[in-house]
């Protein structure tokens, strides 16, 4: 089995994997980072979104060996020194989650969305969420949370 090495949440991580092992399974099984979820088998639901070299990626659509040498951030690595990322805080404040299963993927997608698009509005946020499914919330409060986090982060950088 090939070995793979990458940096996950700022720490060196390595392991033996089958060549067919997906990044999400490497994270969940080898590293026991179970915050990243698997919700489908067709790359449709987005529960597995992580950041690879700063960009949102569906970790079910990437082989672990493809992430060799990459900087990977998962939901577990988003809060810094016990302080929630503004997107995490906004999901709580605006009740953007119910069962919590899609939440890590939603939050990682939202962080990337806010980074890429400076002036988000409801329509854009809904459109940008096309790769993430939620069955609980009807999306309304997820949209609200992302909008609020986006405005707050912009204010902080202004």
């Amino acid at each position: 089995m090939p070995s793979v090495a990458m940096t996950v949440n700022g720490k060196a991580a390595s392991g033996e994997v089958e060549t067919r092992t997906l990044l999400v399974h490497f994270l969940r099984e080898n590293l026991r980072l179970t915050g990243t979820h698997v919700g489908c088998d067709t790359s449709q639901c987005g529960a597995c979104v992580v950041h690879v070299n700063g960009k949102a990626v569906k970790s079910c659509t990437m082989l672990a060996v493809q992430a060799e040498g990459a900087q990977v951030t998962t939901i577990e690595g988003l809060a810094k020194d016990g302080t929630l990322h503004p997107v995490q805080a906004a999901f709580k404040e605006h009740h953007g989650l119910q069962c919590g299963f899609c939440t890590p993927g939603m939050i990682m997608t939202a962080v990337d969305m806010i980074r890429r698009i400076p002036n988000l509005d409801e329509k854009t946020i809904r459109s940008e969420l096309e790769g993430n499914l939620c069955r609980c919330t009807g999306y309304q409060n997820i949209v609200k949370a992302i909008d609020a986090a986006s405005k707050e982060m912009k204010g902080a950088h202004a």
Binding site: T34, G39, T42, H95, G100, E130, R135, G138, Q140, I142
Partner: protein, 785 residues
């Protein structure tokens, strides 16, 4: 004096673990020595099993064991059961075929379970499953419920004409009399499309046998772990109840689909003793589509009788309900007592007669999905009421108001006794929020731009709580539907609440804590809500049917007992008469004095037990309650949907969706609004997008992935306008009614009434996809030309 806790939008206690990736779902659990399972499933909708050869799979790399239906039978394990007995109108009991957890001689739907392959890794198990050689003798499948009773194919020999039961409710002679004197009869044919629940967390389980204690532990994605334990012990016979622990940890949504006891969890638990290692299985989404219990799938003909003054006289309904290839755990109750009993809607209807034929087909089992029977009932009554208003050329609001129930309690002809409500109040509030008065102008403006606008109502009622145990027992339920609560106060004044109500997104850890904190005057963080483990909670019926109000009432009543005992202890400590002790703001006070004890001081005294006679008062502070409700609760309200259709593309856009609901008193408005939003999203999904489709000839599931089954995405949905009206529920002390399903119950009828209004057609079945809408527009145009 602190701000009130009950009724406040307090942010959720459970959120921290979910937003930081620390939730603990079943697939996150890994046991020492764990193996991984993959199920061999039938690729055919209907076939005889001529042979299952597992030898090559057994020899494959990493394989620990391969087990089949023959192994299950050899161990004399019982089959899966349906827990609600329905009696046909001729007095005969329902005709159920056997439901083995692994097929023995016949497979009856695509995805039916044939064998479990257990290996060191999941990949090895999946690879080896391809080496299991199954010889099939294909049989023709029956797929269409409307044709099941006349089809030559028999799904189960026990059920001739594929008919499980022919059930009736209401009063036939009175209903016939009402139709005989009617000035007008409105008729409507409706289908309620098959839905696939699709909680985002796929079903999963880990079964583990411990030789040291000869006990099993099952970690499972369940909404009701105690019921799973009861069924697996008493009926399937895996282990005595006290030797089987069932844990439902964080569960990623259920919507009904995780109520049921499924083959996989039974087989993995049993297999863990066979291979002497923990066995883990997690569904791939494709397996969820194939083998989770589906929802709805009704074909209905309805007729409404009216007098010359547009007063409703009677309703008659004939429904064929598709229960799929096997009867799932509560399947029989859904198209009967959860459906027929709600057909009166919000209307004063003195005569109702409904007949329901439940049929087998070669499709996945159908059981309760969010709303379970009540969305189907609401769809029938609200679609035919809207159609009647159109045929009578009456404003749909005025027509409804003419027929509303206004005196409570109100006995319907279909069992239910509505205890409280104000249907005009929620209608009035919704009309205002939706700007109904402005609709003609908006419709005209849309028309000027070549667009079709339509508006539809759904003034719904539903029933929650699932009611007194004796009442449901008399209707065939195999279980009682009470709920338990145990409140343990720790010596330092912390409170642990053990509830049988399971939380899988509803936020019980917050709302239950609000009730405790509000009542005892202690901080929310001093309250811990414990659920989902049969080793912690003695027994409970779980969460479904918007029944957490039953669990909350149990908690509330346990707190009554805690307060009563604490007052006695406080009286001794304060050297006063118990009758003089008052409890307010978390303090026990001697009335008219400044002598008092804080809650935590009384707790400490209860455990130290120095200052009261233990011959009269036992040490400690712990109380439990098994609460059996005295009635269903009856949430009701008005949903209004406004759509705009582009006739060139057939695309339906929801331009406005308004919901005003009466859930009685609300513990946490933020959480309740979230429940409504999610429910409406599922209802809009049903009306516009979702449809579980089987190929009529082959019985293959055509909508077997997220590529094919259109779950609503964020850009398919609008933001909703929500409001509440309140008539407190008289049958529980907190005045709550239940809010989890109303959105999914009410909204499909509102959407389809709007779509048919825009299109100017009478009959149009869900889902209103662009291609079907476009085709309807062109059929109408062709007919006009």
């Amino acid at each position: 004096m602190t701000a009130p806790v009950i009724g406040a939008s307090i942010r959720r206690k459970e959120d921290h673990r979910f937003i930081t990736g620390q939730g603990r779902y079943t697939d996150d659990i890994n046991r020492h020595g764990q193996t991984h399972a993959y199920f061999v499933r039938s690729p055919h909708a209907h076939a005889k099993l001529r042979g299952v050869d597992t030898s090559a799979a057994r020899a494959a790399k990493g394989v620990v064991g391969v087990l089949t239906g023959a192994d299950l039978a050899a161990d004399k394990l019982g089959g899966l059961i349906c827990g609600w007995m329905i009696t046909s109108k001729d007095g005969t009991p329902m005709k159920a075929g056997a439901h083995p957890a692994l097929a023995v001689d016949t497979v009856r739907y695509v995805g039916d379970h044939i064998a479990i392959v257990i290996a060191e890794t999941y990949g090895q198990a999946k690879d080896a499953a391809e080496l299991v050689k199954v010889e099939y003798e294909e049989l023709p499948p029956v797929v269409d419920p409307a044709k099941a009773q006349s089809d030559a194919t028999q799904v189960h020999a026990e059920a001739p004409r594929n008919t499980i039961y022919q059930w009736e409710i209401g009063n036939k002679p009175e209903t016939e009399a009402a139709f005989a004197k009617a000035a007008q009869i409105v008729k409507l044919d409706l289908t309620n499309n098959r839905l696939i629940p699709n909680a985002m967390e796929p079903r999963a389980c880990v079964g583990e046998y411990d030789d040291a204690t000869s006990g099993y532990t099952l970690y499972v994605t369940s909404q009701n772990p105690h019921v799973a334990r009861l069924v697996m012990s008493a009926f399937i016979g895996i282990a005595p109840e006290h030797k089987l622990r069932v844990v439902a940890p964080d569960v990623g949504g259920g919507f009904g689909s995780k109520i049921f006891i499924y083959a996989e969890e039974v087989v993995c638990t049993w297999a863990s003793k066979k291979v002497r290692r923990p066995v883990k299985w997690t569904a791939e989404r494709s397996e969820s589509f194939l083998s989770d219990a589906h929802g709805r799938d009704h074909v209905t003909h309805a007729e409404l009788a009216l007098d010359a003054d547009a007063k409703m006289l009677g309703l008659r309904v004939k429904t064929i309900a598709n229960l799929g290839a096997y009867m799932s755990t509560f399947s029989s109750s859904v198209p009967t007592y959860l459906y027929g009993t709600l057909l009166s809607g919000q209307y004063d209807l003195s005569a109702i007669y409904a007949e329901v034929d439940a049929v087998y087909t070669n499709t996945a089992p159908v059981d309760a999905y969010r709303g379970a029977g009540r969305p189907e009932a609401t769809y029938v009554i609200e679609r035919i009421v809207e159609e009647a208003a159109r045929q009578l050329k009456l404003d749909p609001v005025a027509f409804r108001r003419k027929n509303f129930v206004r005196k409570f309690p109100h006995q319907t002809p279909v069992i239910m006794n509505y205890d409280a409500g104000d249907y005009d109040a929620s209608l009035d509030a919704a009309l205002k929020l939706a700007d109904y008065a402005g609709f003609p102008a908006r419709k005209a403006a849309a028309k000027a731009q070549g667009k079709l606008r339509g508006l539809g109502f759904s003034t719904y009622i539903e029933a929650c709580g699932l009611a007194p145990s004796a009442a449901v027992g008399s209707l065939g339920a195999g279980v009682g539907l009470w709920e338990s609560a145990e409140v343990r106060v720790t010596p330092t004044g912390g409170v642990e609440v053990f509830t049988g109500a399971h939380s899988h997104g509803q936020g019980h850890e917050t709302t239950f804590a609000q009730v405790v904190a509000g009542r005892l005057g202690i901080p929310m963080e001093n309250v811990e809500i414990i659920h989902g483990d049969t080793n912690s909670v003695q027994f409970g019926m779980g969460t479904y049917g918007s029944r957490a109000a039953v669990g909350l009432t149990a908690v509330s009543r346990a707190l009554d007992k805690i307060e009563a005992k604490a007052k006695k202890i406080a009286a001794h400590v304060l050297e006063a008469s118990a009758a003089d002790i008052v409890f307010e703001n978390g303090e026990f006070k001697v009335a008219g004095t400044d002598r008092k004890l804080a809650f935590h001081e009384v707790a400490l005294n209860a455990y130290v037990a120095h200052k009261f006679p233990t011959s009269e008062i036992e040490p400690g502070l712990k109380e439990s309650v098994f609460h059996d409700p005295t009635n269903f609760t009856f949430p009701a309200g008005t949903h209004i949907c406004e759509v705009e259709i582009d006739p060139d593309t057939g695309v339906t856009t929801i331009v406005s969706f308004t919901a005003v609901d009466d859930f009685g008193n609300v513990i946490n408005p933020m959480i309740v609004e979230g429940q409504v939003q999610g429910g409406i999203a599922q209802g809009i999904g049903q009306a516009l997008l979702e449809h579980g489709v089987y190929d009529k000839d082959s019985g293959q599931l055509i909508t077997g992935s997220y590529m094919d089954y259109t779950m609503p995405r964020a850009d398919d949905l609008p933001s909703y306008k929500l409001g509440f009206t309140v008539t407190p529920c008289p049958s529980n002390p907190l005045g709550m009614k239940g809010c989890g399903e109303a959105g999914a119950i009410a909204s499909p009828a509102a959407v389809m009434n709007a779509v048919t209004d825009a299109l100017g057609v009478k009959e149009f079945n869900m889902p209103a996809t662009p291609s079907r809408v476009w085709a309807a527009i062109h059929r109408t145009r062709a007919a006009a030309e």
